[in-house]
Symmetry: none
Subunit: 199 residues, 2 copies
């Protein structure tokens, strides 16, 4: 979880411990008074930091909108967006749920998980049912395994080879052939950085 500064921690403790506040969220001015602040703008920065840290719900302009995020739904892990299969768009799961990953896979840049469907990368040790952790990125190096959107339609997980004037997507399966596209047909959506499998 993100590190809180002294003031952020202080505010969070007040929000969490004060019974009145739990019943009826305070306005910024009320909180300011309690904290000895004279500027709402200053408080707003702190509240925003708590929202970023996932401890307070975003309040979208509502008045008295400071609401704590319940412990159960506090963000941990990375979002699991759906299944990815060669030849089909990402099958989004109806309700985006988070899955837990090793700390080292939860970096600072936006990342998400997909469940692999199909055997097109089996020679790389990526099996049907495995979870892959993807770092969002529009660019990748040759040799990276990427999530690629083809013709704005299909999404697939393949090894990338960029050449002048063409892009080649290499499956890792002896029964499949590389696919060649024009650069404007392919959009890179992310780079494979981790894999998780349950037995």
């Amino acid at each position: 979880m993100m590190r809180l500064t002294r003031r952020q921690q202080e505010i969070y403790d007040i929000l969490r411990s004060d019974a009145d506040i739990m019943q009826r969220p305070p306005t910024y001015d009320e909180l300011c008074q309690r904290l000895g602040l004279r500027s709402r703008g200053s408080l707003h920065k702190h509240i925003q930091a708590l929202v970023m840290a996932g401890l307070v719900e975003p309040m979208e302009g509502k008045q008295r909108g400071i609401r704590l995020v319940s412990a159960a739904q506090q963000e941990q892990g990375i979002p699991m967006l759906g299944r990815i299969a060669a030849g089909h768009p990402i099958e989004a799961v109806e309700q985006t749920e988070n899955i837990s990953v090793p700390d080292a896979m939860a970096g600072s840049k936006p990342r998400y998980a997909l469940q692999v469907s199909g055997d097109s990368m089996i020679d790389e040790g990526i099996f049907d049912g495995d979870y892959v952790v993807i770092e969002q990125s529009a660019a990748a190096d040759n040799g990276d395994i990427v999530v690629a959107l083809i013709d704005q339609q299909e999404t697939t997980l393949k090894r990338l080879e960029q050449q002048p004037g063409k892009i080649i997507l290499h499956p890792a399966n002896a029964t499949m052939s590389p696919m060649i596209y024009k650069p404007d047909q392919i959009q890179i959506q992310g780079i494979l950085i981790g894999l998780i499998r349950y037995y």
Copy 2:
């Protein structure tokens, strides 16, 4: 690992033992006061040494950034015992460190992680360098992938087949053959329940 000097050890002990510090990392000035130092610059050198030694997280300029590495890891994760290779005993790591795993892999029963060495399970998608999560168990079902101790000497990761009077360990590599043992030659040490790979 690097050896700590007297002062470094002293600072590390304070960081590790003080409950207040565990809750809220101190500023340099606070630590200086506690140590009887008058110069932040002096303390900074020691903290840097601890960062180099891997005992303290790098803090990238953030205030109150002194965080123990082990503190975060001690609470969660499972012990990483060493490398496992077909044909050799587990190569124990000098200092048992914990690695973070998805919550679902950290069950209630004792579990540990090993890093895979070699290609003997490559056809099962278990590659050299992968981490496998093992649940300690002396028994397993046919078809399970297990950590097996052979003749009290070698440890290996293989798929298990138990038959009356013999135990067969199946590698998953077209270039290797199954190995057949008498039941008293084999001790099952754990069952594979998860796999983690970093790219």
